[in-house]
């Protein structure tokens, strides 16, 4: 059974979001986009658009929702973060460096020989990465295991798993969905980055996944939908979930997002799942992102 909060308490939580915090979260999303462009300029190929759709989600998770300790990537009480869509790791690395988990200079060698930072995150190489990924469909199972591990070890952390919407095609996601509902791992929060696109085109043209919220509800999860680019809305929802101490279900947040958010021609051209901005285009992209101030 889900214990919903009264409107009043939700409002009270919302009122805690100061304009300064909202501004900070938007600024951090801008930071993620600009750093993504900078790092991909080193590799000369990367997943810009996959990061841009979840830049605000990264920002809210790491700068408001998650319990973390600066410089202590292995603190056992920390909230965990796993990425089913590991190809967005380029947007996460600058945040992990910002948290003091490794030196910022490591970012400058992104994808170069011997550097720990690759297109997909590796927990053995990168401090702050809680679970390696790259093969789509494993992360929710890994997160479910961590949520069970918290129970076995009497720890109170939450586990956030960012999933791509194309990832909904993987059968293992639904194995994990069944198990998490069965074991009532309420400390497990899946966030589906519903940006609508995968490599070969529109998710709903390739193998349709709607009605997505109904599917998760039918699997026994609490489901919330949110504008994934509205930092205040995302932060308010994640705070509300933290406050639901009596919840007995895992949670699925369907974040409605735009692939390539922040750069107009990326938003409208699905071919940008993987690409590289050459010099002049890179300058224009940075100008456009700065002009929008992130996603605002």
């Amino acid at each position: 059974m889900s214990i919903a909060h009264s409107d009043q308490s939700v409002d009270a939580l919302a009122s805690e979001l100061s304009p300064e915090l909202i501004s900070h979260l938007n600024e951090r999303a801008l930071f993620v986009r600009l750093e993504t462009i900078r790092l991909i300029s080193i590799a000369k190929v990367g997943h810009y658009t996959s990061v841009f759709s979840c830049a605000e989600i990264f920002s809210v998770l790491y700068y408001d929702a998650m319990r973390l300790r600066h410089g202590e990537p292995k603190w056992e009480g920390r909230d965990r973060f796993l990425m089913g869509k590991g190809h967005a790791a380029v947007g996460l690395y600058p945040i992990l460096a910002d948290w003091g988990f490794f030196d910022r200079s490591v970012l400058d060698g992104y994808t170069r020989l011997g550097n720990p930072l690759g297109d997909h995150p590796d927990m053995r190489k990168v401090a702050g990465v809680d679970f390696s990924s790259g093969s789509i469909g494993h992360a929710l199972s890994g997160g479910f295991g961590m949520a069970m591990g918290a129970r076995l070890q009497n720890l109170a952390f939450d586990v956030y798993v960012l999933l791509g919407d194309g990832e909904m095609h993987e059968g293992q996601v639904w194995e994990a969905a069944l198990a998490a509902a069965h074991y009532k791992t309420s400390n497990l929060i899946a966030i589906v980055d519903r940006n609508g696109y995968q490599l070969d085109g529109k998710v709903d043209d390739i193998i349709g996944i709607e009605p997505l919220a109904d599917k998760w509800r039918a699997f026994g999860w609490d489901v919330h939908e949110v504008d994934g680019h509205d930092v205040a809305a995302v932060a308010r929802l994640l705070r509300q979930l933290k406050a639901e101490t009596h919840r007995e279900k895992p949670v699925c947040v369907i974040a409605l997002t735009v692939k390539g958010k922040g750069i107009e021609y990326m938003e409208t051209e699905p071919g940008w799942h993987l690409g590289w901005l050459a010099e002049e285009d890179e300058k224009l992209a940075i100008e456009e992102i700065k002009a929008h101030g992130g996603a605002q």
């Binding site: 965990r80 679970f131 295991g145 591990g149 059968g171």
Partner: protein
């Protein structure tokens, strides 16, 4: 309830009593808990087949039933391992090593997490259940996964000893075990050392290197060969990876013929591993790799299959005698 109509009548849930070797699995894990080790145990709808029902009754709070979701089980075990509990997850070797191959590589081995994967009913030990339930490729698959230790205990006591020893083994492990009907080779108090082959006997005419379920029939075959006046060595190569190269090289210096015996395809498993060692040094005795000769098994009860594929004591003895005859012919040439 009425009494069983015949002594052969039994229920699925009593299977544990009929597979004494598997009782060592649950008991070994129960002992770990008693010794204060933080472990978690899981299976995928096979708690009666592998006897983990015994563990589940004793420690329900440490037991996770994953249902028929093997891939979820393996990835979740990796997640559990990140939180400080050592997970032991078990299912048929076919489903573990073949269905979950990528989860094992990505989430367990590549991530270097201390997960213990227990593939039971390996080889052709599920008899007439057929190829879907046979695992004659699992050693080849798991052996090629970096940072994964691969162990095939010969019997229950060796399995229990290996489970005990695994507490201090930092790498992830794939345990390959049989169906629990293997006669005991070792006493209950045996001590297990990863990567250290057990030399049962040394011999200069031939040496048999066996692993897992094949150790017991190989020892019996060696006994029969000795009765003909042959000098026969036997090595239990329980750890397939890292392979005890020294044991292979040492025996290669003192024996004229090597025969590997495994309930596995002759490609890529124990035979392949020993062949690689001999090829690396570039000289040594002739090697005969005995096992399943790159084919899918027939349908039959397990003991009938072992006889058919010459994986019982008589079959192994016959394979050895044929190899010795060929050896003589070569020497004449």
């Amino acid at each position: 309830m009425s009494a069983p109509v015949s002594p052969d009548t039994w229920q699925y849930r009593q299977i544990n009593a009929r597979a004494p070797g598997l009782s060592y699995l649950s008991n070994g894990l129960i002992d770990l808990v008693a010794d204060g080790h933080k472990i978690a145990v899981g299976t995928a709808d096979l708690q009666y087949s592998n006897g983990l029902s015994r563990f589940a009754e004793k420690h329900p709070e440490l037991f996770i039933q994953f249902g028929i979701s093997e891939q979820n089980m393996v990835s979740a075990a990796a997640g559990i391992a990140t939180t400080g509990s050592m997970p032991f997850v078990a299912t048929f070797a076919s489903f573990l090593a073949l269905l979950c191959c990528e989860q094992i590589r990505m989430d367990v081995a590549y991530s270097a997490l201390p997960v213990r994967l227990i593939g039971h009913h390996a080889g052709i030990s599920l008899g007439f259940y057929g190829t879907s339930h046979h695992a004659t490729e699992d050693l080849a698959i798991t052996r090629s996964i970096a940072d994964l230790t691969v162990v095939a205990p010969a019997d229950g006591p060796q399995l229990a000893a290996a489970i005990r020893a695994s507490i201090h083994h930092p790498q992830p492990i794939y345990f390959r075990i049989g169906r629990g009907q293997e006669p005991n080779v070792y006493p209950d108090d045996m001590v297990f050392e990863f990567g250290k082959a057990i030399v049962h006997a040394q011999g200069h005419d031939l040496t048999l290197i066996a692993t897992g379920s094949m150790v017991h029939p190989t020892l019996a075959a060696a006994q029969a060969l000795r009765a003909s006046g042959l000098s026969v060595g036997v090595i239990d190569m329980h750890t397939i990876k890292p392979l005890d190269r020294e044991a292979v090289l040492t025996v290669a210096r003192h024996t004229e013929l090597l025969i590997t015996v495994e309930e596995h395809n002759v490609l890529g498993g124990l035979g392949g591993a020993v062949a690689e060692v001999l090829a690396d040094v570039g000289h040594g005795p002739r090697l005969v790799r005995h096992g399943i000769y790159d084919e899918y098994s027939l349908i039959a009860p397990p003991t009938h299959l072992y006889r058919h594929y010459r994986l019982d004591a008589e079959g192994i003895e016959a394979v050895a005698r044929e190899a010795l005859v060929q050896e003589d012919k070569q020497n004449v040439r």
